[in-house]
Assembly symmetry: C2
Homo-oligomer: 331 residues x 2
Protein backbone atom coordinates (compact mmCIF):
# COMPACT_ATOMS: atom_id res chain seq x y z
CA UNK A 1 0.00 0.00 0.00
CA UNK A 2 1.18 3.52 -0.78
CA UNK A 3 0.03 6.32 1.48
CA UNK A 4 0.74 9.99 0.87
CA UNK A 5 1.44 12.04 4.00
CA UNK A 6 1.31 15.82 3.89
CA UNK A 7 4.59 16.90 5.50
CA UNK A 8 3.35 20.51 5.65
CA UNK A 9 0.06 19.82 7.41
CA UNK A 10 0.08 20.19 11.18
CA UNK A 11 0.43 23.39 13.21
CA UNK A 12 4.06 22.43 13.87
CA UNK A 13 4.92 20.96 10.47
CA UNK A 14 7.08 19.24 9.39
CA UNK A 15 8.12 17.77 12.73
CA UNK A 16 5.05 15.79 13.92
CA UNK A 17 4.07 14.94 10.35
CA UNK A 18 7.44 13.38 9.50
CA UNK A 19 7.71 11.71 12.89
CA UNK A 20 4.28 10.12 12.43
CA UNK A 21 5.15 9.02 8.91
CA UNK A 22 8.32 7.31 10.14
CA UNK A 23 6.37 5.59 12.91
CA UNK A 24 3.78 4.37 10.43
CA UNK A 25 6.41 3.13 7.96
CA UNK A 26 8.10 1.26 10.79
CA UNK A 27 4.91 -0.18 12.32
CA UNK A 28 3.16 -1.37 9.18
CA UNK A 29 5.81 -1.54 6.45
CA UNK A 30 3.73 0.45 3.97
CA UNK A 31 5.25 2.79 1.43
CA UNK A 32 4.90 6.31 2.73
CA UNK A 33 5.22 9.24 0.33
CA UNK A 34 6.05 12.45 2.14
CA UNK A 35 4.89 15.40 0.10
CA UNK A 36 6.08 18.97 0.68
CA UNK A 37 9.21 21.08 0.44
CA UNK A 38 11.92 18.48 -0.20
CA UNK A 39 14.79 20.25 1.55
CA UNK A 40 12.77 20.66 4.71
CA UNK A 41 11.59 17.05 4.65
CA UNK A 42 15.11 15.71 4.05
CA UNK A 43 16.51 17.66 6.99
CA UNK A 44 13.69 16.41 9.20
CA UNK A 45 14.04 12.80 8.04
CA UNK A 46 17.77 12.88 8.80
CA UNK A 47 16.85 12.89 12.49
CA UNK A 48 15.50 9.34 12.28
CA UNK A 49 16.98 5.97 11.47
CA UNK A 50 15.03 5.21 8.32
CA UNK A 51 17.13 2.27 7.10
CA UNK A 52 14.86 -0.33 5.54
CA UNK A 53 11.76 1.85 5.65
CA UNK A 54 9.88 2.54 2.45
CA UNK A 55 9.91 6.32 2.60
CA UNK A 56 9.82 8.51 -0.45
CA UNK A 57 9.73 12.27 -0.90
CA UNK A 58 7.71 14.09 -3.53
CA UNK A 59 8.44 17.78 -3.81
CA UNK A 60 5.67 20.36 -3.56
CA UNK A 61 6.93 23.93 -3.37
CA UNK A 62 3.83 25.63 -1.93
CA UNK A 63 2.11 25.34 1.44
CA UNK A 64 -1.53 25.99 2.30
CA UNK A 65 -1.13 27.42 5.78
CA UNK A 66 -3.61 27.07 8.64
CA UNK A 67 -4.55 30.73 8.51
CA UNK A 68 -5.02 30.79 4.71
CA UNK A 69 -8.48 31.42 3.36
CA UNK A 70 -9.21 28.01 1.78
CA UNK A 71 -10.77 29.00 -1.56
CA UNK A 72 -8.16 31.65 -2.28
CA UNK A 73 -5.21 29.49 -1.21
CA UNK A 74 -6.47 26.49 -3.20
CA UNK A 75 -6.69 28.68 -6.31
CA UNK A 76 -3.40 30.52 -5.85
CA UNK A 77 -1.21 27.68 -4.58
CA UNK A 78 -1.83 24.92 -7.06
CA UNK A 79 1.60 23.43 -6.34
CA UNK A 80 0.80 22.97 -2.68
CA UNK A 81 1.41 19.72 -0.83
CA UNK A 82 -2.36 19.21 -0.89
CA UNK A 83 -2.70 19.56 -4.67
CA UNK A 84 0.40 17.47 -5.42
CA UNK A 85 -0.43 14.87 -2.78
CA UNK A 86 -4.07 14.31 -3.71
CA UNK A 87 -3.10 14.21 -7.37
CA UNK A 88 -0.95 11.17 -6.61
CA UNK A 89 -4.11 9.47 -5.34
CA UNK A 90 -6.19 10.71 -8.28
CA UNK A 91 -3.72 9.30 -10.81
CA UNK A 92 -3.46 5.96 -9.04
CA UNK A 93 0.13 6.47 -7.90
CA UNK A 94 -0.98 6.21 -4.29
CA UNK A 95 -3.88 4.67 -2.37
CA UNK A 96 -4.66 7.27 0.25
CA UNK A 97 -3.86 10.77 1.45
CA UNK A 98 -3.36 11.98 5.01
CA UNK A 99 -3.00 15.57 6.16
CA UNK A 100 -3.25 17.42 9.46
CA UNK A 101 -3.59 20.69 7.57
CA UNK A 102 -6.18 23.37 6.91
CA UNK A 103 -9.50 21.50 6.79
CA UNK A 104 -11.18 24.01 4.49
CA UNK A 105 -8.18 23.75 2.19
CA UNK A 106 -8.45 19.96 2.03
CA UNK A 107 -12.12 20.26 1.16
CA UNK A 108 -11.61 22.72 -1.67
CA UNK A 109 -8.51 21.04 -3.12
CA UNK A 110 -10.18 17.62 -2.97
CA UNK A 111 -13.55 18.60 -4.43
CA UNK A 112 -12.59 21.30 -6.95
CA UNK A 113 -8.98 20.61 -7.97
CA UNK A 114 -8.09 16.95 -7.60
CA UNK A 115 -10.19 13.97 -6.54
CA UNK A 116 -13.63 15.52 -7.05
CA UNK A 117 -16.94 14.18 -5.86
CA UNK A 118 -18.11 10.63 -6.32
CA UNK A 119 -20.85 10.58 -8.93
CA UNK A 120 -24.20 11.27 -7.28
CA UNK A 121 -22.76 12.79 -4.10
CA UNK A 122 -24.48 16.08 -3.36
CA UNK A 123 -22.02 17.25 -0.71
CA UNK A 124 -18.89 15.54 0.62
CA UNK A 125 -18.86 15.44 4.41
CA UNK A 126 -16.19 15.49 7.06
CA UNK A 127 -16.54 12.67 9.52
CA UNK A 128 -14.71 11.67 12.63
CA UNK A 129 -14.54 8.60 14.78
CA UNK A 130 -15.44 9.55 18.32
CA UNK A 131 -13.78 7.51 21.07
CA UNK A 132 -16.44 6.68 23.66
CA UNK A 133 -16.46 4.63 26.86
CA UNK A 134 -18.38 1.77 25.23
CA UNK A 135 -16.78 1.84 21.78
CA UNK A 136 -16.63 4.23 18.88
CA UNK A 137 -19.11 6.17 16.80
CA UNK A 138 -18.79 7.82 13.41
CA UNK A 139 -20.13 11.35 13.42
CA UNK A 140 -20.74 13.47 10.34
CA UNK A 141 -20.85 16.19 9.10
CA UNK A 142 -18.49 17.91 11.52
CA UNK A 143 -17.92 21.06 9.53
CA UNK A 144 -17.79 20.76 5.76
CA UNK A 145 -21.36 21.98 5.21
CA UNK A 146 -22.70 24.60 7.59
CA UNK A 147 -26.01 24.76 5.71
CA UNK A 148 -27.60 21.48 4.74
CA UNK A 149 -30.71 20.08 3.13
CA UNK A 150 -32.43 16.88 4.24
CA UNK A 151 -31.16 15.01 1.15
CA UNK A 152 -27.58 15.81 2.12
CA UNK A 153 -28.09 14.38 5.58
CA UNK A 154 -29.52 11.17 4.14
CA UNK A 155 -26.38 10.78 2.04
CA UNK A 156 -24.25 11.52 5.11
CA UNK A 157 -26.11 8.69 6.84
CA UNK A 158 -25.31 6.28 4.01
CA UNK A 159 -21.68 7.34 3.84
CA UNK A 160 -21.34 7.12 7.61
CA UNK A 161 -22.81 3.62 7.58
CA UNK A 162 -20.31 2.50 4.95
CA UNK A 163 -17.47 3.93 7.01
CA UNK A 164 -18.70 2.41 10.27
CA UNK A 165 -18.91 -0.95 8.55
CA UNK A 166 -15.41 -0.70 7.11
CA UNK A 167 -13.61 0.90 10.05
CA UNK A 168 -15.52 -0.29 13.10
CA UNK A 169 -16.53 -3.65 11.66
CA UNK A 170 -20.21 -3.08 12.29
CA UNK A 171 -22.73 -5.03 10.25
CA UNK A 172 -25.81 -2.99 9.51
CA UNK A 173 -24.64 -0.07 11.67
CA UNK A 174 -27.22 1.82 13.71
CA UNK A 175 -27.76 5.39 12.53
CA UNK A 176 -29.16 8.23 14.67
CA UNK A 177 -29.99 11.85 13.99
CA UNK A 178 -28.64 14.48 16.40
CA UNK A 179 -31.49 16.57 17.78
CA UNK A 180 -32.66 18.59 20.74
CA UNK A 181 -35.10 15.92 21.82
CA UNK A 182 -35.58 12.21 21.19
CA UNK A 183 -39.20 12.31 20.04
CA UNK A 184 -39.77 12.23 16.26
CA UNK A 185 -41.39 15.68 16.30
CA UNK A 186 -38.40 17.34 17.98
CA UNK A 187 -35.78 19.40 16.20
CA UNK A 188 -35.31 22.10 13.62
CA UNK A 189 -37.19 21.93 10.33
CA UNK A 190 -34.08 20.34 8.82
CA UNK A 191 -34.08 17.61 11.46
CA UNK A 192 -37.81 16.95 11.19
CA UNK A 193 -37.67 16.65 7.40
CA UNK A 194 -34.55 14.49 7.55
CA UNK A 195 -36.18 12.24 10.12
CA UNK A 196 -38.96 11.37 7.67
CA UNK A 197 -36.50 10.56 4.89
CA UNK A 198 -34.35 8.40 7.16
CA UNK A 199 -37.36 6.44 8.41
CA UNK A 200 -38.31 5.76 4.78
CA UNK A 201 -34.81 4.64 3.77
CA UNK A 202 -34.80 0.85 3.94
CA UNK A 203 -31.04 0.66 3.32
CA UNK A 204 -30.37 2.21 6.74
CA UNK A 205 -30.77 0.90 10.27
CA UNK A 206 -32.19 4.19 11.56
CA UNK A 207 -32.89 4.28 15.29
CA UNK A 208 -34.31 7.82 15.58
CA UNK A 209 -33.19 11.06 17.17
CA UNK A 210 -30.54 11.24 19.85
CA UNK A 211 -29.63 14.09 22.16
CA UNK A 212 -25.92 14.61 22.92
CA UNK A 213 -26.08 12.39 26.01
CA UNK A 214 -27.44 9.44 24.05
CA UNK A 215 -25.01 10.15 21.24
CA UNK A 216 -22.24 9.28 23.70
CA UNK A 217 -23.69 6.02 25.03
CA UNK A 218 -22.90 4.02 21.88
CA UNK A 219 -26.45 3.12 20.97
CA UNK A 220 -25.71 4.64 17.55
CA UNK A 221 -22.74 3.65 15.39
CA UNK A 222 -23.34 6.64 13.14
CA UNK A 223 -24.53 10.08 14.24
CA UNK A 224 -25.80 12.31 11.48
CA UNK A 225 -26.04 16.09 11.68
CA UNK A 226 -25.42 19.21 9.64
CA UNK A 227 -21.91 20.63 9.65
CA UNK A 228 -22.76 23.54 11.92
CA UNK A 229 -24.45 21.58 14.71
CA UNK A 230 -21.94 18.75 14.28
CA UNK A 231 -19.06 21.14 14.70
CA UNK A 232 -20.65 22.74 17.76
CA UNK A 233 -21.36 19.29 19.19
CA UNK A 234 -17.81 18.02 18.73
CA UNK A 235 -16.11 21.20 19.88
CA UNK A 236 -18.40 21.46 22.91
CA UNK A 237 -17.35 17.98 23.97
CA UNK A 238 -13.68 18.91 23.55
CA UNK A 239 -14.17 22.24 25.30
CA UNK A 240 -15.89 20.67 28.29
CA UNK A 241 -13.27 17.94 28.60
CA UNK A 242 -10.50 20.52 28.50
CA UNK A 243 -12.20 22.80 31.00
CA UNK A 244 -12.99 19.97 33.37
CA UNK A 245 -9.44 18.63 33.36
CA UNK A 246 -8.16 22.16 34.01
CA UNK A 247 -10.51 22.71 36.94
CA UNK A 248 -9.80 19.26 38.39
CA UNK A 249 -6.05 19.94 38.18
CA UNK A 250 -6.58 23.33 39.74
CA UNK A 251 -8.52 21.94 42.70
CA UNK A 252 -6.30 18.90 43.20
CA UNK A 253 -3.16 21.03 43.40
CA UNK A 254 -4.84 23.46 45.82
CA UNK A 255 -3.90 21.47 48.95
CA UNK A 256 -1.50 18.81 50.19
CA UNK A 257 -4.04 16.05 50.86
CA UNK A 258 -5.63 16.34 47.43
CA UNK A 259 -2.20 16.69 45.81
CA UNK A 260 -1.17 13.33 47.25
CA UNK A 261 -4.52 11.93 46.18
CA UNK A 262 -3.96 13.23 42.67
CA UNK A 263 -0.50 11.67 42.58
CA UNK A 264 -1.85 8.27 43.61
CA UNK A 265 -4.77 8.53 41.20
CA UNK A 266 -2.51 9.44 38.28
CA UNK A 267 -2.59 6.02 36.59
CA UNK A 268 -6.39 6.25 36.54
CA UNK A 269 -6.28 9.68 34.91
CA UNK A 270 -3.82 8.37 32.34
CA UNK A 271 -6.26 5.57 31.48
CA UNK A 272 -9.10 8.10 31.19
CA UNK A 273 -7.05 10.19 28.73
CA UNK A 274 -6.15 7.10 26.77
CA UNK A 275 -9.75 5.86 26.55
CA UNK A 276 -11.14 9.15 25.30
CA UNK A 277 -8.16 10.65 23.49
CA UNK A 278 -9.03 11.74 19.93
CA UNK A 279 -5.35 11.34 19.06
CA UNK A 280 -5.82 7.58 19.38
CA UNK A 281 -8.08 7.86 16.35
CA UNK A 282 -5.85 10.39 14.63
CA UNK A 283 -8.33 12.03 12.30
CA UNK A 284 -11.45 11.64 10.25
CA UNK A 285 -12.25 10.98 6.62
CA UNK A 286 -13.52 13.36 3.97
CA UNK A 287 -16.31 11.18 2.61
CA UNK A 288 -17.79 11.51 -0.86
CA UNK A 289 -14.66 12.20 -2.93
CA UNK A 290 -12.91 9.75 -5.27
CA UNK A 291 -10.18 8.66 -2.92
CA UNK A 292 -9.32 8.03 0.70
CA UNK A 293 -8.58 11.35 2.40
CA UNK A 294 -8.04 11.47 6.16
CA UNK A 295 -7.79 14.82 7.93
CA UNK A 296 -6.01 14.99 11.27
CA UNK A 297 -6.14 17.64 13.97
CA UNK A 298 -3.84 20.64 13.47
CA UNK A 299 -2.49 20.10 16.98
CA UNK A 300 -1.53 16.49 16.17
CA UNK A 301 1.67 15.07 17.62
CA UNK A 302 3.65 12.28 15.95
CA UNK A 303 1.52 9.55 17.49
CA UNK A 304 -1.71 11.19 16.30
CA UNK A 305 -0.28 11.46 12.77
CA UNK A 306 0.76 7.81 12.90
CA UNK A 307 -2.73 6.81 14.00
CA UNK A 308 -4.33 8.94 11.28
CA UNK A 309 -2.16 7.15 8.70
CA UNK A 310 -3.35 3.90 10.30
CA UNK A 311 -6.92 4.98 9.68
CA UNK A 312 -6.08 5.68 6.04
CA UNK A 313 -4.70 2.13 5.75
CA UNK A 314 -7.86 0.66 7.22
CA UNK A 315 -10.03 2.73 4.89
CA UNK A 316 -8.06 1.39 1.91
CA UNK A 317 -8.22 -2.18 3.21
CA UNK A 318 -11.94 -1.78 3.86
CA UNK A 319 -12.43 -0.71 0.27
CA UNK A 320 -14.33 2.35 1.44
CA UNK A 321 -14.33 4.34 -1.78
CA UNK A 322 -15.59 1.54 -4.01
CA UNK A 323 -18.28 0.68 -1.46
CA UNK A 324 -19.33 4.32 -1.28
CA UNK A 325 -19.59 4.50 -5.07
CA UNK A 326 -21.86 1.47 -4.97
CA UNK A 327 -23.95 2.59 -1.99
CA UNK A 328 -24.56 6.01 -3.49
CA UNK A 329 -25.26 4.74 -7.00
CA UNK A 330 -27.96 2.49 -5.53
CA UNK A 331 -29.75 5.44 -4.01
Amino acid sequence: MRIVVDAMGSDNYPHPDVEGAVMAARDWGDEIILVGQDGLIERELARYDTAGLKLEIVHAPEVIEMEDEPTKAAREKQHSSMHVGMDLVRTGQADAYFTAGNTGGVLVVATLYTLRRIRGVKRPALATILPLPKGHAVILDIGANADCRPEYLVQFARMGAVYAHALLGRDNPTVALLSNGEEPGKGSMLVKDTYKLLVADSSLHFIGNVEPKEALDSRADVIVTDGFAGNVFLKSLEAMAGMLFDVIKDEITAGLRTKIGGYLAKPAFRRVYKRLDPFEVGGGPLLGVNGVVIVGHGRSNGRAIRNGIGQARQAVQGNVVATLVEALAAS
Copy 2:
Protein backbone atom coordinates in the same frame (compact mmCIF):
# COMPACT_ATOMS: atom_id res chain seq x y z
CA MET B 1 -41.84 40.10 47.20
CA ARG B 2 -44.27 37.37 46.22
CA ILE B 3 -42.94 34.44 44.20
CA VAL B 4 -45.09 31.67 42.78
CA VAL B 5 -43.52 28.23 42.84
CA ASP B 6 -44.94 25.41 40.75
CA ALA B 7 -45.33 22.53 43.21
CA MET B 8 -46.02 20.14 40.34
CA GLY B 9 -42.96 20.96 38.26
CA SER B 10 -39.94 18.71 38.74
CA ASP B 11 -39.58 15.07 37.75
CA ASN B 12 -40.15 14.11 41.38
CA TYR B 13 -42.81 16.68 42.25
CA PRO B 14 -43.95 17.77 44.74
CA HIS B 15 -41.06 16.78 46.99
CA PRO B 16 -38.08 18.84 45.67
CA ASP B 17 -40.36 21.71 44.67
CA VAL B 18 -41.87 22.10 48.12
CA GLU B 19 -38.55 21.52 49.84
CA GLY B 20 -36.92 24.26 47.75
CA ALA B 21 -39.83 26.61 48.40
CA VAL B 22 -39.48 26.12 52.16
CA MET B 23 -35.73 26.72 51.93
CA ALA B 24 -36.29 29.92 49.96
CA ALA B 25 -38.97 31.18 52.35
CA ARG B 26 -36.62 30.50 55.24
CA ASP B 27 -33.51 32.01 53.63
CA TRP B 28 -34.97 35.20 52.23
CA GLY B 29 -38.28 35.77 54.02
CA ASP B 30 -40.23 36.30 50.80
CA GLU B 31 -43.81 35.25 50.39
CA ILE B 32 -43.91 31.99 48.48
CA ILE B 33 -47.11 30.88 46.80
CA LEU B 34 -47.12 27.16 46.13
CA VAL B 35 -49.44 26.39 43.28
CA GLY B 36 -50.72 22.90 42.51
CA GLN B 37 -52.99 20.23 43.97
CA ASP B 38 -53.67 21.56 47.47
CA GLY B 39 -54.04 18.23 49.26
CA LEU B 40 -50.73 17.02 47.91
CA ILE B 41 -48.96 20.26 48.81
CA GLU B 42 -50.41 20.30 52.32
CA ARG B 43 -49.24 16.76 53.00
CA GLU B 44 -45.79 17.62 51.70
CA LEU B 45 -45.58 20.87 53.67
CA ALA B 46 -46.50 19.02 56.87
CA ARG B 47 -43.04 17.42 56.77
CA TYR B 48 -41.38 20.77 57.47
CA ASP B 49 -41.40 23.23 60.31
CA THR B 50 -42.95 26.17 58.52
CA ALA B 51 -43.75 28.30 61.55
CA GLY B 52 -43.15 31.95 60.77
CA LEU B 53 -42.61 31.37 57.05
CA LYS B 54 -44.76 33.21 54.56
CA LEU B 55 -46.05 30.22 52.65
CA GLU B 56 -49.37 30.14 50.88
CA ILE B 57 -51.10 27.52 48.76
CA VAL B 58 -53.11 28.23 45.65
CA HIS B 59 -55.01 25.27 44.29
CA ALA B 60 -54.61 24.18 40.67
CA PRO B 61 -56.26 20.86 39.91
CA GLU B 62 -54.43 19.96 36.70
CA VAL B 63 -50.80 19.07 36.00
CA ILE B 64 -48.83 19.45 32.80
CA GLU B 65 -46.63 16.41 33.02
CA MET B 66 -43.09 16.12 31.63
CA GLU B 67 -44.16 13.70 28.93
CA ASP B 68 -47.15 15.81 27.83
CA GLU B 69 -47.09 17.31 24.36
CA PRO B 70 -46.86 21.02 25.23
CA THR B 71 -49.37 22.59 22.83
CA LYS B 72 -52.00 19.93 23.49
CA ALA B 73 -51.52 19.97 27.27
CA ALA B 74 -51.59 23.77 27.43
CA ARG B 75 -54.89 23.79 25.56
CA GLU B 76 -56.55 20.92 27.41
CA LYS B 77 -55.33 21.60 30.94
CA GLN B 78 -56.13 25.26 31.43
CA HIS B 79 -56.39 24.77 35.18
CA SER B 80 -52.82 23.52 35.42
CA SER B 81 -50.35 24.84 37.97
CA MET B 82 -48.66 26.65 35.06
CA HIS B 83 -51.81 28.47 33.94
CA VAL B 84 -52.93 29.33 37.45
CA GLY B 85 -49.43 30.26 38.60
CA MET B 86 -48.52 32.52 35.71
CA ASP B 87 -51.94 34.14 35.89
CA LEU B 88 -51.06 35.29 39.39
CA VAL B 89 -48.10 37.11 37.87
CA ARG B 90 -50.13 38.45 34.97
CA THR B 91 -52.74 39.95 37.30
CA GLY B 92 -50.16 41.49 39.59
CA GLN B 93 -50.87 39.18 42.52
CA ALA B 94 -47.30 37.91 42.38
CA ASP B 95 -43.93 39.16 41.12
CA ALA B 96 -42.40 36.08 39.57
CA TYR B 97 -43.01 32.48 38.64
CA PHE B 98 -40.69 29.52 39.06
CA THR B 99 -41.19 26.02 37.71
CA ALA B 100 -39.00 22.97 37.13
CA GLY B 101 -41.66 21.57 34.81
CA ASN B 102 -42.14 20.80 31.11
CA THR B 103 -40.18 23.52 29.31
CA GLY B 104 -42.32 23.42 26.19
CA GLY B 105 -45.38 23.71 28.41
CA VAL B 106 -44.00 26.81 30.14
CA LEU B 107 -43.35 28.39 26.75
CA VAL B 108 -46.83 27.77 25.39
CA VAL B 109 -48.67 28.68 28.58
CA ALA B 110 -46.63 31.86 29.01
CA THR B 111 -46.81 33.11 25.43
CA LEU B 112 -50.29 31.97 24.36
CA TYR B 113 -52.37 31.71 27.54
CA THR B 114 -51.10 34.00 30.26
CA LEU B 115 -48.25 36.54 30.26
CA ARG B 116 -47.83 36.88 26.49
CA ARG B 117 -44.98 38.50 24.63
CA ILE B 118 -43.58 41.90 25.44
CA ARG B 119 -44.62 44.33 22.70
CA GLY B 120 -42.11 44.14 19.84
CA VAL B 121 -40.63 40.79 20.83
CA LYS B 122 -40.48 38.50 17.83
CA ARG B 123 -39.73 35.31 19.74
CA PRO B 124 -39.28 34.79 23.47
CA ALA B 125 -36.09 32.88 24.24
CA LEU B 126 -35.00 30.48 26.92
CA ALA B 127 -31.78 31.51 28.56
CA THR B 128 -29.57 29.99 31.18
CA ILE B 129 -26.70 31.17 33.31
CA LEU B 130 -23.75 28.92 32.70
CA PRO B 131 -21.38 28.44 35.66
CA LEU B 132 -17.82 28.72 34.35
CA PRO B 133 -14.38 28.64 35.98
CA LYS B 134 -13.92 32.39 35.57
CA GLY B 135 -17.47 33.57 36.24
CA HIS B 136 -20.83 33.17 34.60
CA ALA B 137 -22.25 33.65 31.13
CA VAL B 138 -25.82 34.05 29.92
CA ILE B 139 -26.57 31.82 26.96
CA LEU B 140 -29.66 32.00 24.79
CA ASP B 141 -31.64 30.60 23.05
CA ILE B 142 -31.23 27.14 24.57
CA GLY B 143 -34.27 25.54 23.05
CA ALA B 144 -37.35 27.69 22.61
CA ASN B 145 -36.81 28.35 18.90
CA ALA B 146 -35.24 25.57 16.85
CA ASP B 147 -35.50 27.64 13.67
CA CYS B 148 -34.46 31.27 13.87
CA ARG B 149 -33.99 34.34 11.71
CA PRO B 150 -31.17 36.85 12.15
CA GLU B 151 -33.59 39.44 13.62
CA TYR B 152 -34.57 37.00 16.38
CA LEU B 153 -30.94 36.49 17.32
CA VAL B 154 -30.38 40.24 17.53
CA GLN B 155 -33.26 40.46 19.98
CA PHE B 156 -31.86 37.53 21.91
CA ALA B 157 -28.61 39.48 22.17
CA ARG B 158 -30.41 42.52 23.57
CA MET B 159 -32.44 40.46 26.01
CA GLY B 160 -29.37 38.54 27.10
CA ALA B 161 -27.49 41.79 27.69
CA VAL B 162 -30.29 43.11 29.90
CA TYR B 163 -30.28 39.89 31.87
CA ALA B 164 -26.49 39.81 32.24
CA HIS B 165 -26.60 43.37 33.50
CA ALA B 166 -29.33 42.63 36.04
CA LEU B 167 -28.21 39.21 37.24
CA LEU B 168 -24.44 39.24 36.82
CA GLY B 169 -23.97 42.93 37.46
CA ARG B 170 -22.15 43.52 34.19
CA ASP B 171 -22.10 47.02 32.76
CA ASN B 172 -22.20 46.98 29.00
CA PRO B 173 -21.95 43.18 28.84
CA THR B 174 -19.90 41.59 26.07
CA VAL B 175 -21.96 39.66 23.53
CA ALA B 176 -20.66 36.88 21.29
CA LEU B 177 -22.21 34.75 18.59
CA LEU B 178 -21.73 30.97 18.79
CA SER B 179 -20.17 29.69 15.58
CA ASN B 180 -17.95 27.01 14.08
CA GLY B 181 -15.07 29.43 13.65
CA GLU B 182 -14.04 32.78 15.06
CA GLU B 183 -13.54 34.62 11.78
CA PRO B 184 -16.43 36.87 10.64
CA GLY B 185 -17.00 34.80 7.49
CA LYS B 186 -17.45 31.55 9.44
CA GLY B 187 -20.75 29.93 10.23
CA SER B 188 -24.08 29.01 8.74
CA MET B 189 -26.00 31.56 6.67
CA LEU B 190 -27.94 32.40 9.82
CA VAL B 191 -24.75 33.13 11.72
CA LYS B 192 -23.20 35.17 8.90
CA ASP B 193 -26.30 37.31 8.49
CA THR B 194 -26.68 37.75 12.24
CA TYR B 195 -23.03 38.75 12.52
CA LYS B 196 -23.61 41.72 10.20
CA LEU B 197 -26.64 42.87 12.18
CA LEU B 198 -24.84 42.56 15.51
CA VAL B 199 -21.84 44.54 14.26
CA ALA B 200 -24.21 47.29 13.16
CA ASP B 201 -26.10 47.40 16.47
CA SER B 202 -24.58 50.22 18.50
CA SER B 203 -26.57 49.31 21.61
CA LEU B 204 -24.55 46.11 21.97
CA HIS B 205 -20.96 45.42 22.96
CA PHE B 206 -20.51 42.74 20.30
CA ILE B 207 -17.14 40.96 20.34
CA GLY B 208 -17.62 38.62 17.37
CA ASN B 209 -17.94 34.89 16.92
CA VAL B 210 -16.88 32.36 19.53
CA GLU B 211 -16.36 28.64 19.22
CA PRO B 212 -17.45 26.47 22.17
CA LYS B 213 -13.99 26.63 23.75
CA GLU B 214 -13.97 30.44 23.81
CA ALA B 215 -17.58 30.46 24.96
CA LEU B 216 -16.35 28.82 28.16
CA ASP B 217 -13.46 31.17 28.88
CA SER B 218 -15.67 34.07 30.02
CA ARG B 219 -14.63 36.56 27.36
CA ALA B 220 -18.35 36.88 26.56
CA ASP B 221 -21.01 37.66 29.16
CA VAL B 222 -23.73 36.76 26.69
CA ILE B 223 -23.59 33.97 24.11
CA VAL B 224 -26.20 34.16 21.39
CA THR B 225 -27.33 31.24 19.25
CA ASP B 226 -30.43 29.67 17.77
CA GLY B 227 -32.40 27.29 19.95
CA PHE B 228 -31.21 24.17 18.14
CA ALA B 229 -27.47 24.85 18.27
CA GLY B 230 -27.82 26.33 21.76
CA ASN B 231 -29.53 23.22 23.00
CA VAL B 232 -26.91 20.97 21.39
CA PHE B 233 -24.15 23.14 22.87
CA LEU B 234 -25.53 23.05 26.39
CA LYS B 235 -26.45 19.38 26.37
CA SER B 236 -23.08 18.44 24.88
CA LEU B 237 -21.35 20.18 27.77
CA GLU B 238 -23.56 18.35 30.26
CA ALA B 239 -23.11 15.04 28.44
CA MET B 240 -19.33 15.33 28.36
CA ALA B 241 -19.13 16.31 32.02
CA GLY B 242 -21.34 13.35 32.96
CA MET B 243 -19.38 10.93 30.82
CA LEU B 244 -16.04 12.14 32.07
CA PHE B 245 -17.00 11.89 35.73
CA ASP B 246 -18.29 8.35 35.08
CA VAL B 247 -15.08 7.27 33.34
CA ILE B 248 -12.91 8.89 36.01
CA LYS B 249 -14.87 7.09 38.74
CA ASP B 250 -14.60 3.87 36.80
CA GLU B 251 -10.83 4.12 36.43
CA ILE B 252 -10.20 5.36 39.97
CA THR B 253 -12.11 2.46 41.50
CA ALA B 254 -10.28 -0.04 39.27
CA GLY B 255 -7.33 -0.49 41.64
CA LEU B 256 -6.30 0.02 45.27
CA ARG B 257 -3.69 2.74 44.71
CA THR B 258 -5.99 4.89 42.59
CA LYS B 259 -8.88 4.19 44.99
CA ILE B 260 -6.87 5.64 47.86
CA GLY B 261 -5.86 8.53 45.62
CA GLY B 262 -9.49 9.14 44.77
CA TYR B 263 -10.41 9.12 48.45
CA LEU B 264 -7.75 11.69 49.28
CA ALA B 265 -8.66 13.83 46.28
CA LYS B 266 -12.36 13.80 47.16
CA PRO B 267 -12.48 17.35 48.57
CA ALA B 268 -11.04 18.61 45.28
CA PHE B 269 -13.70 16.78 43.28
CA ARG B 270 -16.37 18.22 45.56
CA ARG B 271 -15.07 21.72 44.83
CA VAL B 272 -15.07 20.98 41.09
CA TYR B 273 -18.72 19.90 41.25
CA LYS B 274 -19.60 22.95 43.27
CA ARG B 275 -17.85 25.35 40.88
CA LEU B 276 -19.52 24.00 37.75
CA ASP B 277 -22.80 22.69 39.13
CA PRO B 278 -25.80 24.03 37.18
CA PHE B 279 -27.89 23.41 40.31
CA GLU B 280 -26.06 26.34 41.92
CA VAL B 281 -27.78 28.52 39.35
CA GLY B 282 -31.05 26.64 39.58
CA GLY B 283 -32.57 27.53 36.22
CA GLY B 284 -32.87 30.05 33.47
CA PRO B 285 -35.35 32.72 32.48
CA LEU B 286 -37.90 32.74 29.70
CA LEU B 287 -37.09 36.16 28.27
CA GLY B 288 -39.49 38.25 26.24
CA VAL B 289 -42.75 37.65 28.11
CA ASN B 290 -44.52 40.10 30.41
CA GLY B 291 -43.29 38.73 33.69
CA VAL B 292 -40.39 37.00 35.39
CA VAL B 293 -40.49 33.29 34.58
CA ILE B 294 -37.63 31.03 35.65
CA VAL B 295 -37.47 27.44 34.43
CA GLY B 296 -35.48 24.91 36.43
CA HIS B 297 -34.15 21.52 35.41
CA GLY B 298 -36.59 18.62 35.65
CA ARG B 299 -34.04 16.72 37.72
CA SER B 300 -33.78 19.57 40.25
CA ASN B 301 -33.36 18.72 43.90
CA GLY B 302 -34.54 21.00 46.70
CA ARG B 303 -31.39 23.09 46.66
CA ALA B 304 -31.65 23.64 42.89
CA ILE B 305 -35.27 24.73 43.30
CA ARG B 306 -34.26 27.09 46.11
CA ASN B 307 -31.55 28.58 43.91
CA GLY B 308 -33.93 28.95 40.99
CA ILE B 309 -36.30 30.85 43.25
CA GLY B 310 -33.32 32.97 44.24
CA GLN B 311 -32.76 33.78 40.60
CA ALA B 312 -36.40 34.82 40.28
CA ARG B 313 -35.89 37.19 43.24
CA GLN B 314 -32.84 38.73 41.63
CA ALA B 315 -34.65 39.17 38.32
CA VAL B 316 -37.45 41.01 40.12
CA GLN B 317 -35.00 43.14 42.09
CA GLY B 318 -33.08 43.87 38.89
CA ASN B 319 -36.27 45.10 37.27
CA VAL B 320 -35.63 42.83 34.31
CA VAL B 321 -39.04 42.97 32.67
CA ALA B 322 -39.36 46.77 32.69
CA THR B 323 -35.80 47.08 31.36
CA LEU B 324 -36.56 44.58 28.61
CA VAL B 325 -39.68 46.51 27.62
CA GLU B 326 -37.57 49.63 27.31
CA ALA B 327 -34.63 47.98 25.53
CA LEU B 328 -36.87 46.35 22.97
CA ALA B 329 -39.05 49.40 22.39
CA ALA B 330 -35.89 51.38 21.58
CA SER B 331 -34.94 48.93 18.85
